[in-house]
Symmetry: C2
Subunit: 104 residues, 2 copies
């Protein structure tokens, strides 16, 4: 019986880590789905109330809060801000669409 080579051990460890990454990604997708359910309701509410799609003051507070939370959980705050900006960009596009649908 031959022993486990360093390469085999590395492959096994990589497999284990990837399985955790896949689990975290599944959670991530479901969290994002839930977040967009909330922002869809926000978008419809804003369109109905004639509120503007973007809210720069609220966004600044969100970014500061998440940067600080990233820092304390060991995530690069610059990356946290980047991800939040991608999400907010998508949300604003959706809100604008709701507003257009209402006006159109």
């Amino acid at each position: 019986m031959r022993g486990v080579s360093a390469e085999d051990a590395a492959r096994a460890e990589l497999h284990r880590l990837r399985s955790s990454i896949d689990n975290l990604d599944a959670a991530l997708i479901h969290l994002l789905a839930e977040r967009f359910k909330c922002t869809e309701t926000v978008g419809r509410l804003k369109a109905r109330a004639g509120m503007p799609p973007a809210d720069p003051a609220r966004e600044a507070v969100q970014i500061a809060r998440l940067r600080s939370m990233a820092e304390s959980s060991g995530l690069d705050p610059h990356f946290a801000e980047k991800i939040l900006n991608v999400i907010i960009g998508e949300v604003i596009r959706n809100h604008e669409q709701f507003a257009e649908e209402r006006e159109g």
Copy 2:
């Protein structure tokens, strides 16, 4: 006593939704922090084993899986892919840095 105006009701509903969004964002940041802990270990392991930082076959499988998961959870699959690409881009940059540190 005056009744609640439509605007007050909209503001209260917006406040409630934003509080849920903030909770989901906190979960999101902590999930991402955990995911980057895993990929940091993957990066060091790959650098040690001399494996390439990127793995296009693995990425294609991840993207297909998450697009399908997004679809069934009501999240735009195109957006899910976009977010995953931002994350993977960051992970590969980190992996390249580990490889350079090891070589340098």
